[in-house]
């Protein structure tokens, strides 16, 4: 049993989230903390000082990922890592990303205070970037830890103000990773605690979600070409209405997704109609499909069925169809042993949990390439995320951190890994 004082833990979590959210507080009441901005630098420096005060050994890597370490007494070449990303979206809230850093910090602080130095290194990481909100590049932090970020991918990109990635990085005091150097071999596990960013845990009144898979995603752009015509003088039988064809396709896509059932989701989020005039039969409709699943074979099967179906509808309605698959990311399973370890900790500590998947992307899916990885969710009120009003009950935050503490203890303080 983890013997934390529940109220103290809740209070500390809320206090640290508020404090960290204050770096980059924007005029609309949210937090805007873009990679390598002054607010970002201040946040990392604030965390650096916080960790130092607790006696953690603090270190930045070349690109600005910040690590705070409790040194292991016995297995000094073995590290258990926990944390998340410090950057935010524009006008974001106080949970996305920074919750994982604050949770990791408090877990290590509690463990050190309660059990002293661990057998192997315990590290909390405040990763430089995940959101892609400033520059058109995501997972810059975790992809530099795993060595998959390439210098060439960011050398020519700029932010909305024309400031180049490289210039901003230099300005903040960082530079490229030495790509010839080997990546870290000491990491034995990575654990990320994150807000769910969906409404399932709240609806099911469960404080903890143990992630088994991060979904794969396939995204398409569909172009439906019919014939623009006068809405008054073109009889129904003489039309090639792109919007009617698109509506039948969108309905069919939804029916297929519902038929497959969880964990498949398919969304038509963006629809553009041309010429988009009240008295003109639409000549063209361009829409997107975002399809996700935890298992790649099912994801491929579903998207193939979707493609076959919309092709049939195009034939039936006499429109032309162009299908462009522009994102194809495979699902990432979390480590089964770590999942079981979390289940065990929840059961031992009377914490109710749900085995689930993550429908959103996270640093954990990148880190899984480096080491056995696990992810823990706490509820997002009404599923709201990327908003100043994102919120998790302090009680649920504390239960998530208790589960994290339990697993970090197992991994850091026991001989067997």
């Amino acid at each position: 049993m983890i013997k934390t004082c529940q109220l103290d833990l809740e209070k500390e979590l809320v206090r640290l989230l508020d404090w960290l959210g204050g770096f980059g507080k924007d005029s609309e009441g949210g937090t805007t903390r873009f990679l390598y901005s002054p607010e970002w630098t201040e946040a990392q420096q604030g965390l650096e000082n916080l960790m130092k005060e607790e006696g953690f050994r603090v270190q930045y890597d070349e690109v600005g990922n910040l690590f705070g370490r409790l040194e292991g007494t016995t297995y000094q070449n073995e590290t258990v890592l926990t944390g998340s990303h410090v950057d935010t979206v524009k006008n974001g809230g106080s949970y996305d990303g920074q919750l994982g850093i604050v949770a990791g910090f408090l877990a290590l602080k509690y463990l050190k205070e309660t059990y002293g130095q661990p057998l192997r290194n315990l590290e909390v990481v405040s990763m430089a970037e995940e959101e892609g909100s400033r520059f058109p590049y995501t997972f810059w932090g975790s992809k530099n830890i795993t060595g998959t970020a390439k210098r060439s991918e960011v050398e020519n990109i700029t932010d909305i103000n024309g400031i180049s990635f490289v210039e901003a990085m230099k300005e903040a005091g960082f530079g490229f990773r030495d790509e010839s150097r080997e990546i870290r071999k000491d990491v034995r596990a990575f654990i990320e605690l994150h807000a769910e960013q969906g409404g399932v845990l709240e609806i099911e009144q469960t404080p903890i979600g143990i992630v088994q898979y991060i979904v794969g995603q396939r995204r398409f752009t569909i172009e439906v070409s019919g014939e623009a015509n006068h809405a008054g003088t073109t009889p129904m039988g003489y039309r090639k209405d792109a919007m009617i064809a698109a509506s039948r396709m969108i309905t069919a896509i939804n029916d297929i997704a519902v038929k497959y059932g969880d964990p498949l989701v398919a969304t038509v989020g963006k629809v553009e109609v041309k010429p988009n005039i009240v008295n003109v039969v639409p000549g063209k409709v361009i829409f997107t499909i975002d399809c996700r699943h935890t298992h790649n074979n099912e994801l491929v099967k579903a998207t193939e069925e979707i493609q076959e179906t919309i092709k049939k509808i195009a034939e039936q309605t006499g429109v032309n169809l162009d299908i462009d698959l522009w994102m194809d990311a495979v699902p990432v399973p979390m480590d089964e042993r770590l999942v079981k370890m979390f289940q065990g900790q929840c059961e031992k500590n009377d914490l109710s949990y749900k085995l689930m998947h993550s429908g959103a992307g996270h640093d954990a899916q990148i880190m899984a390439e480096l080491a056995p990885t696990a992810m823990l969710f706490v509820p997002s009120h009404k599923g709201i995320s990327h908003s100043p009003i994102e919120f998790t009950e302090p009680k649920d935050l504390a239960e998530g951190v208790k589960a994290l503490i339990g697993v970090l203890f197992e991994l850091g303080y026991k001989e067997e890994l």
Copy 2:
């Protein structure tokens, strides 16, 4: 039998359409001739001179409608009127509107040359405005002839450059109609020849359409409100996807229109999705419905069925619905006797014709308030209209004018009206 020289008539029609289309020739190869613009004034003056050269008695009314008259020998208080509007849309072609003026002019010229002065007045009118392309007001020309245009409706409107309607009118040398004065009582018939602006005549290889009805129109804006959610983390069962609901509605509207069959048409031309982002479940969709029919009871019945159906879909899909009916124009029947007269003329002259309706609005629907009215269509190549590439075969133009000549002869040169 109308003994025109077919080739001369074709040549004259093409020459005059080209000549008139030259007033307001724009940089994109079309004609842009907005109400009260310098190009508009030049076109009216050009037509004035043309009519004078043929010995027509020429007169403008207060707002700038131009009339050219062949005086009747016997019934000088009775006038048969033909013509259409001289204004164009932005980057329009050489047929819409000006064809009716050129056709009327040539018909009167032919009749005068062949049969001399008529028993009652024959007049061709070049109406000031129909399109509403410069100012947000349509049918300014015909509504001033029928006395339904009100000073108050245009007093506060401006064009896109901020020039007021009143200022532009004054600048062109015109002013408001004296609303206390009675409207013309001498008009015994109005006949408008126009390009179809649809593809029916071409598809059915028929040179002449005799219009029986100008359709009524009901237009709606439909707002569908669901819930915007994360496309990855919101299972299908937890969604209120406004786009799925809207797609089912749009499909159902089309199915209802097809079920009713001609002459009903229903079009969803404009669709806006919010927030319209690839990875967000749409929270709101706003779309328009444009529904038309030749008979008001059928139009009302169809639109009521549409409303009931989309309400049911809203209930089934758990979204909120707001329905706004913002246009409700009743159908206008053409004069049955004139329709029969055109049928008779076509048959006598071996011209193949189709009894049809107009799916678009025309000056004829306004003029029908004043006098028995008829409309004649000639084919629009591929149904194209409001474009520099709108086109009608010269042969078809000539056949339309022959039918017009035949009916104007019946109305103008025979004792019985």
